[in-house]
C-alpha cells in the first residue's frame, strides 16, 4: 500500500502476479479510504488479512499527513500479524510502472511549488536519492529526460516530456517488491528495501499556532 501521494492505493500480490488492486485519488481522505480499500482488495481475492505473509509500504517522499496513514497502518499490521514490513521509495513504484528502459526522472507534487524527484537509469534502477526542489531549479539538470508522475504534469514549463503514469499504484509497488523478494534482494541498500520509516525531506514547521490547543466546544 502507498499513501504518500494524493493516491490511496492497495494491492495484493501472490508472488507471481497482482491478484487484486485499488486506487483512489483524494488527497484529503487517506485516513478514511485506506482500510476500506484493504478490505475490498482482500474480499475481491477471497482472502482474509491473515493470509498475507508480508506488507510492502511506500515510505514517501510525500506530504506528511497522508504518508503517515500508510506507514502506521503497515506497522500495525506487522505487529498484529507478526509479518515483516518492507519499505520502498514511493518514486520507485512510479518508475517501475512507467516501464521506461532509458534514463528518465520521476517527479511528484510536494506542494509549496516544489516537487519530490529522483533520476533513474531504467524502470528498476534509481541513481539519485529522492530530493525536494523547485521545478525551475532542476529543469536544466533534467533537460531532455522524460519525467514520470504528477509533478511533470503540474510544471510543463520545467518538464516538457511528461510521461505516464500520473499516479502511484500499489500494484506496481507490490510487483517490484515481489521481484526483489524473489531475487533474495531483501537487504538494505539501493537494490533492496528501505526501513518502513517516513521520508519527509523537510523539517517540520516549528511554529506554535496561535491558540494552538483550544479544542473545547463552544
Amino acid at each position: 500500500m502507498d499513501t504518500a501521494t494524493p493516491a490511496v492505493t492497495v494491492a495484493l500480490h501472490d508472488g507471481e502476479a497482482v491478484v487484486a488492486s485499488s486506487g483512489q485519488v483524494d488527497a484529503r481522505r487517506h485516513g478514511e479510504l485506506l482500510l476500506p480499500a484493504v478490505d475490498r482488495v482482500l474480499a475481491e481475492a477471497g482472502l482474509k488479512l491473515d493470509a498475507v505473509t508480508g506488507v510492502v509500504v511506500g515510505v514517501g517522499p510525500g506530504p506528511y499527513t497522508g504518508l503517515r496513514v500508510g506507514l502506521v497502518t503497515a506497522a500495525a499490521f506487522s505487529s498484529a500479524l507478526g509479518v515483516p514490513v518492507h519499505g520502498l521509495c514511493t518514486l520507485d513504484g512510479l518508475a517501475y510502472a512507467s516501464g521506461i528502459e532509458e534514463p528518465f526522472a520521476v517527479a511528484t507534487d510536494a506542494r509549496r511549488k516544489e516537487v519530490y524527484w529522483a533520476r533513474y537509469a531504467d524502470s528498476r534502477t534509481r541513481v539519485t536519492d529522492a530530493a525536494v526542489d523547485r521545478p525551475a531549479d532542476i529543469a536544466e539538470a533534467l533537460a531532455g529526460l522524460p519525467v514520470v508522475g504528477a509533478g511533470a504534469r503540474l510544471y510543463p514549463g520545467a518538464f516538457p516530456d511528461a510521461r505516464d503514469p500520473e499516479h502511484q499504484s500499489a500494484a506496481a509497488l507490490a510487483a517490484l517488491a515481489a521481484e526483489r523478494l524473489a531475487a533474495g534482494d531483501g537487504g538494505a541498500g539501493s537494490g533492496g528495501f528501505l526501513d518502513p520509516l517516513p521520508m519527509y525531506l523537510r523539517r517540520p514547521d516549528a511554529q506554535v499556532p496561535k491558540n494552538y490547543k483550544v479544542v473545547t466546544p463552544k
Partner: protein, 373 residues
C-alpha cells in the same frame, strides 16, 4: 474483577502524548505513555507536525509495551478504542489509523470515542463506577469545560467552557512571563505554595452578576498579571515571583471551583469530578474539596497520572461502550479535530440507520495548515 468485564485497549494521540491503556472493565492493567513534551518545550507550546511525527514513531512500540505490561494477548481483547477527536487533526489521524489497522487485523470491534468524555470516564479506574449524573470540570492546556454527564456513553451535555484561553494555557503564559519555562502548571503550583494567595487581587473573569454562569475567561487575567509584573519592573522593584504565582493561581482556581459547585447546585447533581492536566494542581484540589464539602457534594479527582492525556482513559470509555452494547465504529472512521462533546462516541454510519454528519467544519482551524504542509 468480574470475568465478563470487557478487556479493551485504548489509544490516545490527540495532542503530544502517545498513550496506550488496557483495562478490564474498571480495572487498569496497563498505561503506557510516550511524550514529545520535551521537544515542544523550546517552542513554548505544542507544534502539531512535531507531535504527529513523534506519534508515528512511538505508536506501535507503545501498543506492544502496553500489551506486555498488561500480560494479555491482543487476540483476547474485546475491543479497540481510540480518540476520534477533538484534538490536532494530524496527531489524531496517527492513532485512528493504528486503531483501525489493529482492529481489522485482529477482527475486533473498533470504538472511536470522544477525548473529553474519556477524561471523565477515567475516574472509574480510580474510584469505581461513575455515578450518573456527574458534573465534570475538565481543565488542561486544551480544555476548560463544565460538562454534565447523564450517561457517559450517550449523553454528555456542555454546561460552560472558556471563551478564550484554556486554564492550562493561562498557566503556561504566566510561566513564560515569569521566565519559568514550559509547561507552566507544575512550577507555578510549587512556587505558589511559598507565596501569599491574597498578596495581589487579580481579576476573576466572567464573575459579574450578568456574566454567563458557567463560562470561563482567562485572557483578562493573563493581561492583568503581565501588566502588574511590567509595572513592578518599570518601578525598578523586584518581582515577588512566589506571591504573583500564588495570587494568579488563586484567581484561576477560585473561578473554576466556584462555577463548578454552582453548576452542581443548580442542576441538583451531588457528584463533581475534576479531570485534565490542571486537576493535578494542589490548590485546585484543596479548594474544590473545601467548597464541595461545604455544599454537600462528593468530589472525585483521579490521581495526576490519570488526569493528563493517556490511553487508559480511552480504554475506560471503550470498555463502557462494550459493556453497554453501544454500536461500534466502522472502517471509514475519521479523525475529527472538532468532534462535539455531545458525541461520546462515533458509531458506524449504518449503526442507527442514519448517517453521522455534523454541520461543523471537519477541518479544524489549527490543523488546516498542517494537513498538507
Amino acid at each position: 474483577m468480574a470475568a465478563d468485564e470487557p478487556l479493551v485497549l485504548g489509544i490516545e494521540t490527540s495532542c503530544d502524548e502517545t498513550g496506550v491503556g488496557i483495562v478490564h472493565g474498571t480495572t487498569l492493567l496497563a498505561d503506557a505513555v510516550a511524550s514529545s513534551v520535551d521537544t515542544h518545550a523550546r517552542y513554548g507550546g505544542v507544534v502539531p507536525e512535531i507531535a504527529s511525527r513523534a506519534h508515528l514513531e512511538a505508536m506501535v512500540p507503545t501498543i506492544e509495551r502496553a500489551l506486555k505490561t498488561a500480560g494479555v494477548s491482543a487476540k483476547d481483547l474485546d475491543g479497540i478504542a481510540v480518540t476520534a477527536g477533538p484534538g490536532l487533526a494530524g496527531a489524531l489521524l496517527v492513532g485512528v489509523s493504528a486503531a483501525k489497522a489493529y482492529a481489522y487485523a485482529l477482527g475486533k470491534p473498533l470504538y472511536g470515542v470522544n477525548h473529553l468524555a474519556s477524561h471523565i470516564c477515567v475516574d472509574q479506574l480510580e474510584h469505581g463506577k461513575l455515578p450518573e449524573p456527574t458534573m465534570a470540570l475538565l481543565v488542561s492546556g486544551g480544555h476548560s469545560s463544565l460538562l454534565l454527564s447523564a450517561d457517559i456513553t450517550s449523553d454528555v451535555r456542555p454546561m460552560g467552557a472558556t471563551i478564550d484561553d484554556a486554564a492550562g494555557e493561562a498557566f503556561d503564559k504566566i510561566a513564560r512571563v515569569l521566565d519559568l519555562g514550559f509547561p507552566g502548571g507544575p512550577v507555578i503550583d510549587r512556587l505558589a505554595r511559598e507565596g501569599d494567595p491574597r498578596a495581589i487581587a487579580f481579576p476573576r473573569g466572567l464573575s459579574g452578576a450578568k456574566d454567563p454562569a458557567y463560562d470561563f475567561s482567562f485572557s483578562g487575567l493573563k493581561t492583568a498579571v503581565a501588566r502588574w509584573i511590567e509595572a513592578k519592573k518599570a518601578a525598578g522593584e523586584e518581582v515577588p515571583v512566589r506571591d504573583v504565582a500564588a495570587s494568579f493561581q488563586e484567581a484561576v482556581v477560585d473561578v473554576l471551583t466556584r462555577k463548578a459547585v454552582r453548576a452542581c447546585k443548580d442542576e441538583g447533581v451531588d457528584h463533581l469530578m475534576i479531570g485534565g492536566g490542571v486537576a493535578a494542581n494542589s490548590r485546585l484540589r484543596a479548594l474544590a474539596q473545601e467548597r464541595c464539602e461545604r455544599a454537600g457534594i462528593r468530589l472525585r479527582v483521579p490521581r495526576p497520572g490519570l488526569c493528563t492525556d493517556n490511553g487508559a482513559m480511552v480504554a475506560a470509555l471503550g470498555a463502557e461502550m462494550v459493556a453497554r452494547n453501544r454500536a461500534a465504529s466502522d472502517l471509514e472512521l475519521s479523525a475529527d479535530s472538532s468532534l462535539p462533546v455531545t458525541d461520546p462516541h462515533v458509531p458506524g454510519a449504518h449503526a442507527h440507520g442514519h448517517s453521522h454528519d455534523h454541520s461543523h467544519d471537519h477541518v479544524h482551524e489549527v490543523s488546516k495548515e498542517n494537513l498538507y504542509s
